[in-house]
């Protein structure tokens, strides 16, 4: 299972990378970052890009900065960078907890945060994170910079609104409120497998009631997203079994479930119910 032939370009600067991408995009040119998702599909020859723009040498794309409001993650930042919290803000602990669920250790040594977003696998943990936290994706091309909100970024299975000549140069995650709670739960068959459903939740407490609830769901539909029907079940309620169950049921009813030979619609809905509730339970620990 060897990939089809391609030309590998190795730009050293962002400008060079964008210019190269502009040249080759029309001939199925793609970005090579971590390669942990792209190379397998090339091995299966499901993708036969004629050009790869290898951004691993591009200066400036390895940015990982916290300016007090936003965590900015550059295109070359790898999953392993998040193993330990990268900020004292609760977002750091959230990303560290989620990161542990991504594939396996050696994959995390190479795979990149932005690469996962651009690849847009429905069960990607970072895609779920970006969608839940309303991240902003920063796409660059020779024509300039475009900021795309997460809710508009994901466009179906393995599909985003990135144009073929755009590089996802960085993603901006808003820091969480200092008192934010978070919870995450995913279900898969074996350790490290693709999640069959996953949920990321955050909220704050005001007078003992939940406010600003975010309930994100991944692996259950073509794209990850926040489920407003579930959030409605949480806001103004006391955290606990009743509200958590209601949120799970609401999410389960609200989705257009992905189906495959392992998971029919009924089972997917079962799982959604469970992962949302358990993510909320996790937020209490």
């Amino acid at each position: 299972m060897k990939p089809a032939p391609f030309v590998r370009h190795v730009p050293r600067s962002l400008d060079e990378a964008l210019a190269t991408l502009a040249q080759v995009a029309g001939e199925d040119g793609r970005i090579l970052a971590g390669g942990q998702s792209l190379v397998p599909i090339m091995a299966f020859r499901l993708a036969k890009p004629a050009h790869l723009v290898d951004i691993n040498e591009v200066e400036g794309l390895d940015k990982l900065t916290d300016d007090g409001k936003t965590l900015t993650i550059g295109a070359r930042v790898r999953h392993a960078a998040f193993h330990k919290p990268v900020t004292a803000n609760p977002l750091g602990a959230l990303l560290a907890y989620v990161a542990r669920h991504i594939a396996h250790y050696p994959i995390r040594m190479r795979g990149t945060f932005c690469g996962s977003l651009a690849h847009a696998d429905p069960s990607s943990e970072w895609c779920l994170t970006a969608a839940t936290l309303d991240a902003v994706m920063v796409a660059k091309s020779v024509n300039g910079t475009r900021e795309i909100k997460a809710a508009e970024f994901f466009d179906g299975i393995m599909s985003t609104n990135l144009k073929e000549d755009e590089l996802l140069a960085e993603v901006r995650l808003p820091l969480l409120p200092a008192d934010a709670k978070f919870g995450f739960y995913e279900f898969s068959r074996r350790a490290g497998d693709f999640a069959m459903s996953a949920s990321l939740v955050t909220y704050r407490l005001d007078g003992g009631k939940m406010i600003d609830a975010r309930v994100g769901l991944g692996g259950a539909e073509a794209s990850p997203r926040r489920i407003p029907e579930a959030e409605v079940e949480l806001n103004g309620k006391t955290p606990g079994d009743t509200a958590f169950r209601a949120a799970g049921e609401a999410a389960s009813a609200a989705i257009e479930p992905l189906e495959d030979h392992q998971t029919d619609a009924a089972y997917r809905r079962d799982l959604v119910k469970v992962v949302v509730r358990r993510a909320l339970e996790h937020s209490l620990t």
Partner: protein
């Protein structure tokens, strides 16, 4: 150019000047162009881990990197674990604890375990099992692989 290019891979401290296409994976280059066949290929899609090597201190799946990407990096394979006639504690531990049967997945496990333990010598036992679940073995049922790695970890911490 999809044509072959000259690159140099530094494997276990030795330079190999080779000529490969851009699409040549690191795994294939190590095995065929550099003649180090200890690294094995089990799936070519990044799941089984038989091809694990250490690149610049990180255990990675060599089937998911292109050889050209590894130029200028410090690549370590199973052939470089022993120092002359003295086996690495990980190798010795696998032999002492029957951590291998057919031996095909073994180099991948050795490099995974050595790579992770060098980065995190005090890794918890639970996290160690998590790490070992990165690679597949069909012969041992993992029992003695876990035992071997635990024994080697203790030895490496000394």
């Amino acid at each position: 150019m999809t044509d072959k290019q000259n690159i140099t891979l530094t494997i276990n401290g030795k330079d190999h000047a080779i000529t490969v296409e851009p699409r040549r994976t690191l795994a294939d280059a190590i095995r065929e162009d550099c003649g180090q066949t200890g690294t094995h290929i089990g799936c070519e899609h990044g799941v089984c881990g038989a091809c694990t090597v250490i690149v610049d201190g990180a255990p990675v799946r060599s089937c998911l990197m292109f050889a050209a990407q590894a130029e200028g990096k410090n690549i370590r394979t199973v052939e470089g674990l022993a120092s002359g006639d003295t086996l690495h504690p990980m190798q010795q531990a696998f032999m002492d604890n029957h951590g291998l049967q057919c031996g095909f997945c073994t180099p991948g496990f050795l490099m995974l375990a050595v790579g992770v333990l060098e980065r995190e010598p005090d890794i918890s036992d639970e996290a160690l099992i998590d790490v070992l679940s990165s690679n597949l073995c069909r012969c041992t049922g993992y029992q003695n692989i876990i035992k071997s790695v635990r024994a080697a970890a203790a030895e490496m911490r000394k």
